[in-house]
């Protein structure tokens, strides 16, 4: 091995070419920015395709979409659910049951761009250490926010939820939003690695739980090709989810990443030079079907 300073995904970049090595990242950024852009088209240009914000919106005056986590807080705070918001939440729930709960985090939420950038810089600047939390803290905060909604009779987390503050702030043009963006950025960069999205955010925790039975999953279909380069572990925002699927063959664990914490970001697919990963479905998780090339061979 030459002593070249390297980074995760370098081999993939050299072997697969630029587009294949950044395909899913690129698509995600286009989606995230595109969603914001559609919201901003109204106030900036006067073309009202979508009104509202990610809490609740109305597309083309017909399609209502509502964040089910907000509606759950509202219900627990004592509000009777009997409106278009319920239909909106059901549509959203159905969508994420299909594409994966935390696809919300990696494909929709604009905070993800902030924390991904912070994580990227943290690795490139070799910033070690920092404060460690358990990744379970987010579930505690989620539970706390729901209990507090009951106790206070208000949608408790929405009073400080930086995710909705930023989404709303960008769409409605509130200058103070950028302080919150900066705070999250610095938290993830200097205080805790993947601290916000991977450890604390109850919105992500909610979508994790929602996504437990979801269909679309990343699968390490060609895990026998794995050469242990560790690039996927380096880029994964929830690296603990990879191991069972990638290394579980001996323990008779299927190749599909079944952890609800996987954000379906697809970055592991990008950075793998051996094309181990691809998007698949939860149902294709049998460990007993040997793979020859890309074709399943049934005995």
């Amino acid at each position: 091995m030459m002593s070249v300073s390297t980074y995760p995904g370098r081999t993939a970049l050299l072997e697969k070419g630029w587009f294949s090595a950044y395909k899913w990242l690129l698509l995600r950024r286009i989606t995230q920015i595109g969603i914001l852009a559609i919201f901003l088209l109204g106030p900036w240009v006067g073309i009202w395709i979508v009104k509202g914000n990610l809490a609740s919106s109305l597309t083309l005056d017909v399609l209502p979409l509502t964040d089910p986590y907000l509606l759950l807080q509202s219900f627990l705070a004592g509000h009777v659910l009997e409106s278009t918001a319920v239909i909106g939440a059901i549509i959203v729930i159905a969508f994420y049951l299909l594409v994966g709960g935390r696809a919300y985090c990696s494909w929709v939420c604009p905070i993800n761009i902030v924390t991904d950038t912070a994580g990227f810089l943290r690795d490139r600047l070799h910033l070690k250490g920092g404060t460690h939390f358990s990744r379970q803290v987010r579930y505690w905060i989620l539970g706390m926010s729901l209990v507090l909604s009951v106790v206070t009779g208000t949608m408790a987390w929405e009073l400080i939820n930086p995710v909705s503050l930023v989404q709303r702030g960008i769409i409605f043009g509130m200058a103070s939003t950028w302080f919150i963006v900066a705070a999250i950025f610095m938290f993830d960069l200097f205080i805790s690695r993947q601290g916000w999205c991977g450890h604390l955010c109850p919105v992500g925790a909610f979508y994790s739980i929602l996504g437990i039975p979801s269909s679309v999953r990343v699968s390490a279909v060609n895990r026998s090709n794995c050469d242990d380069c560790m690039d996927c572990f380096m880029v994964c925002p929830e690296k603990q989810v990879i191991r069972p699927a990638l290394k579980g063959e001996a323990d008779n664990i299927g190749p599909v990443i079944m952890s609800p914490n996987c954000t379906n970001c697809g970055r592991c697919i990008d950075v793998c030079a051996k094309e181990v990963f691809k998007f698949s479905l939860r149902f294709k998780n049998s460990n007993h079907v040997p793979m020859v090339g890309n074709k399943e061979v049934r005995s």
């Binding site: 914000n53 206070t152 208000t154 409605f172």
Partner: protein
């Protein structure tokens, strides 16, 4: 082996306690904060159809659809740092008041019923209640004819009327006192916005601040009498005023009234009598 199990259990319990304590501290702060932001500042007015602040904060998802559908840019979303729940819609009457659209687009836009869909007539909205707070500076109280709050009121003569009173300063003029009637005032804030003073003398306040309440056991005698069609206690004796001849007194008819009689011994103008005496002397 047993030792290892025990120490890992210890570790698990310690970790859980650490997380629980951290989250509990956060919950404590957030809980007090949630209580604190339930009081809305008096100058921030909720859109039509918003119920009490507590109901509103349990149902509003802060999507801003009402703000987007407000044709007059009246409604705004509160920003981080504002003294009340962040992201919730409100307006300030002095800046842009509610124009009381007949089709109430803000209520229609609300996806959660935080703005009550059963509000179908904007005149039934109760966003607050206008109060003429500063009688020392209100021009009409000085005997001038400003009347602007009265003129701009969408429910003129119902929500604001002018009550005529004697101007004791000049001795010969009338004060046109603006009086707000809570049965009709929607709290739209047009009066507050239009007030010509540097700082408005009339302001829309939250109804619970603006309105007093009579003790539940209070009965107003004259109203009970009107309802019953006669006195409910002592025999209803006509009060006799000691008035100059030809004059009558009636409260509802605004005080002293000249009786319409043709055979009055004096001229209707008291100056005539005075002058006549002077002539005779």
């Amino acid at each position: 082996m047993i030792q290892g199990k025990r120490s890992s259990r210890r570790q698990f319990l310690a970790d859980s306690a650490r997380t629980a304590s951290g989250v509990a501290l956060l919950a404590l702060g957030l809980g007090f904060y949630a209580k604190q932001v339930q009081s809305l500042p008096a100058t921030a007015i909720r859109p039509p159809g918003a119920g009490g602040e507590k109901d509103f904060l349990s149902s509003c998802v802060r999507c801003g659809l009402c703000v987007r559908d407000c044709p007059y840019d009246t409604l705004k979303l509160s920003q981080p740092g504002d003294a009340f729940a962040v992201g919730t819609p409100y307006f300030e009457a002095r800046t842009i008041p509610c124009e009381m659209c007949e089709d109430i687009p803000c209520v229609k836009a609300c996806p959660t019923n935080a703005l009550d869909k059963s509000l179908d007539n904007i005149d039934d909205a109760r966003m607050g209640l206008a109060v003429l707070l500063d009688q020392e500076n209100c021009l009409n109280f000085q005997g001038l004819r400003c009347d602007v709050c009265y003129r701009v009121c969408p429910l003129i003569d119902k929500a604001i009327s002018l009550d005529l009173q004697h101007n004791r300063r000049s001795g010969k003029h009338t004060l046109f006192i603006p009086v707000v009637h809570s049965d009709f005032c929607t709290g739209c804030g047009k009066c507050e916005q239009a007030c010509v003073l540097e700082e408005a003398a009339i302001k829309v306040l939250p109804t619970h601040l603006a309105k007093g309440q009579l003790g539940k056991h209070y009965r107003l005698g004259w109203e009970e009498k009107r309802k019953a069609g006669g006195s409910l206690v002592t025999p209803d004796e006509q009060h006799k005023y000691n008035l100059p001849e030809g004059m009558d007194y009636d409260y509802e008819g605004q005080g002293l009234i000249k009786e319409k009689k043709d055979n009055v011994p004096f001229s209707s103008n008291p100056l005539d009598s005075l002058n006549r005496n002077a002539e005779q002397r």
